[in-house]
Amino acid sequence: MSGPLHTQLCDKLGIEYPVVAFTHCKDVAVAVINAGGFAVLGEAMHTPDQIAADIKWIRDRIGGKPFGIDLVLPASVPEEKTVEELLAMIPRTHWDFEQKIKDKYEVPAPKEVPNLHQWGGLDHKRALAQLDVVFDERVPVFASGLGSPQFLLDRAHQLGMQVWGLVGKPRQAKKQVDAGTDVIIAQGYDAAGHTGNIGTFSIVPQVVDIARGSKTAVIAAGGVTTGRHLAAALALGAAGVWTGSLWLASRESDVNLQLKERLIECETDDTMYSNCISGYTMRTTRCPWHDEWNSDAAPEVLKPPLQMMLSANYIQGSLDYQRKDLMTEAAGQGIHYVTEMKPARQIISDLVDEAFDVFDRFAAD
């Protein structure tokens, strides 16, 4: 197959369209793969047994097509502390402010108290155990959502697996290209969650330049929600796009209905790049928690993981009772174009059709 949408990524994966869905929902992953795209399932918060079960579930439904698993490898780790020690580090003033927010917005208490014993941090043992499953299962693509996958390249390649790395800085891309990473996901500031501070239009061509002459393909991430974004990414030299927010409100997505409605209502400036959720800066949809922490009355945001421990009850309570007015979710600036709950196959089709229209228009001029 040829044409403007047939790229190096299509050849690497044997897929029809150079569209990668990053999702935490197995149903979305399967739907995208069966519609001609590619999907990477985020499994960072799952145990090795859960990851193995998810891999089997997907394999049973995609007829031998490739898929990916994403884990977040730690890149820096401070000394560990116990949960009790961490809780004791949160000042009284901050607990009082949290309570004030809950009172003001009538935030319900979570049905189950978030398991704070998981909150001390992610150790190497857990990451290694997760990786063991990915290797044992010979998952076609392993994607590292944060840390460098450099150390596992040899083993993965020996097993016939591809290794992808997500970067937010050109120098991270340089290291990964030199190491032989198969695909670099160049993620711009527009993206959901833990982005770098370089915009998508600026980082993608830089990473493409770095990868030129190597076997590494580059795909663009951050704010990609339309066929015009796909066409623009290919014009910048990318071999495809990495999309996340695009699937949150899809028909197959397991995001709860109230939150899907909230996401559909969101405009670009409803996404906030803030550290008030976790102490790390990340892009999430605006909610009263953001507003209050941006107010003059707010104390200083705490360092990780303390701020996340402080926000945990608010977030869980909003989800447990489906309070759309309180909910927040990691979402990128492209959320403006997520306007209805479409099936994943329709989303792929719309994306591809619009990209073809763009190329047809240029060809006709």
């Binding site: 730690p74 190497h124 460098s148 596992l152 083993r155 937010g168 969650g193 790390y280």
Partner: protein, 94 residues
């Protein structure tokens, strides 16, 4: 520079020691990690001087270096040192 590395107690460690070639090297670390209990992650940047202490994890091995005398660290970071994945380190005195 004296080592601030504590004795490793993590059973996942497959090796540890001091690499003289890395001791005293200035470096930057594009760090961060998964936020346990959530699907979120966060980035953190550090700069400082490597003590030379290293730890290896797993069979690959996955090598980590200890960075101290931190000149760049996240606001509120309360520790004097940070362990950094070697793949996320950039030596700044090369």
């Amino acid at each position: 520079m004296s080592s601030t590395a504590s004795q490793p107690t993590d059973a996942g460690i497959s090796g540890f020691g001091v690499d003289p070639a890395m001791k005293g090297r200035r470096a930057e670390c594009d760090g961060g990690q998964h936020i346990a209990g959530t699907k979120l992650s966060g980035r953190q940047d550090f700069a400082g001087t490597l003590t030379g202490d290293y730890r290896d994890y797993g069979p690959y091995p996955w090598r980590w270096y200890l960075m101290a005398e931190l000149t760049v660290k996240p606001a509120g970071y309360q520790f004097e040192a940070v362990w950094c994945d070697s793949g996320s380190l950039v030596l700044s005195d090369e």
